[in-house]
Symmetry: C2
């Protein structure tokens, strides 16, 4: 499958490399065509890189790994025509570091970044997932033993099925994937990165995730 | 110990009853002295009730079980003099239901309700905990098998120790209690009620909590 990964940070590079590893053709998109991180990643992995629009144009699936505070701008730059009818895997986290550490959560008017994107691009299929844990765990959940969880939120069942299949190819077991239901449940998972940050500070390891327990 | 429970909702009543059960003397506080829920609770349990200030005045420890959007007003009504030098167990959740369901998280200027309270009452010792799960689980964690977690945030180690002891008397095992560190980590746990709501909708049981997994 041809996949666009928008964003050149640690999360974008980690996901893009894993997508190549499991057999996809990946273009990394960034604000400019000459992003140094994207170029270095492409040289190392054999992937392609270009602008957000370059990456999205030929892609069958889009991964949004930009910062949640700029995701709407990034996808707007990618172009509504290039997103139409496609699944957007939204991995973004909306954090405000302007007043230092720890960051504050930004709650968009729509309730979550994922909902903002879906409202802006109603012909795409936004699925929120992966954002709640560390990038190394995202692509290698076996780093953490036990039945820890990964959440999915989205309004389109077929899109969620497609994303769940992708997640299984990353190593997530079917019973680790928790379908929370509609996309507005992303309101409840976008804040989870903050818990990861707190736990990282408290426990001193990056290999942290949460799991669901029921009575 | 003499404990004030501020708030007459399900969470306040549940915690107040449990506090009596484990041997404390409890006064439930509300905005007015004649709150019907508080009076009914007091009649049923042998507890006392009164205004926020009535409850806080004689208490050695304060439990804030008001809605996070009104907690600052409630504690202001309780009176700074009545809070000075006391531990405030902040169980509040700041949710905005004005645009329907699911609610949106409210992020106060301070970063969290807990931090807002600590800033307003610097002579008290705010400890955030319990807010991340259902009220029945709060006082009976054994309803859910396994090593699920309860988080504590606070700037004063002695206050956190005192609250941890209280939580153990509720049935929480020492290794279920996760001290996240300073009170600003409440930014990462106040949103967790939203995840509980999503999971409740998706899974159809109220006995839900999360646990921490590490590599």
């Amino acid at each position: 499958m041809r996949v666009a990964v928008l964003g050149t940070g640690q999360v974008g590079r980690r996901l893009a490399s894993k997508l190549i590893e499991v057999g996809h053709v990946v273009t990394m998109g960034s604000r400019t065509a000459d992003n140094a991180d994207a170029a270095a990643w492409a040289a190392e992995t054999g992937g392609a890189h270009g602008t957000f629009a370059d990456a999205a144009a030929d892609a069958e699936l889009i991964v949004n790994a930009t910062s949640g505070t700029v995701s709407l701008a990034a996808l707007t730059a990618a172009g509504a025509d290039n997103l139409r009818g496609k699944v957007i895997v939204d991995v973004s986290n909306p954090l405000d570091f302007s007043q230092g550490f720890p960051p504050k959560l930004v709650v968009p008017e729509a309730g979550s970044v994922a909902e903002s994107l879906q409202q802006a691009f109603p012909d795409a299929f936004v699925v929120k997932t992966l954002n709640s844990t560390n990038n190394q765990v995202m692509v290698d959940p076996g780093r953490i033993p036990g039945r820890h969880s990964l959440f999915l939120s989205g309004d389109d069942a077929d899109a969620k099925d497609q994303v769940a299949e992708l997640l299984r190819s990353f190593g997530w077991a079917a019973d680790q994937l928790v379908d929370l239901g509609p996309l507005n449940t992303a309101r409840s998972t976008e804040p989870l990165v903050l818990l990861w940050v707190s736990l990282y500070q408290a426990l001193g390891t990056e290999d942290i995730n949460i799991g669901v327990f029921t009575g």
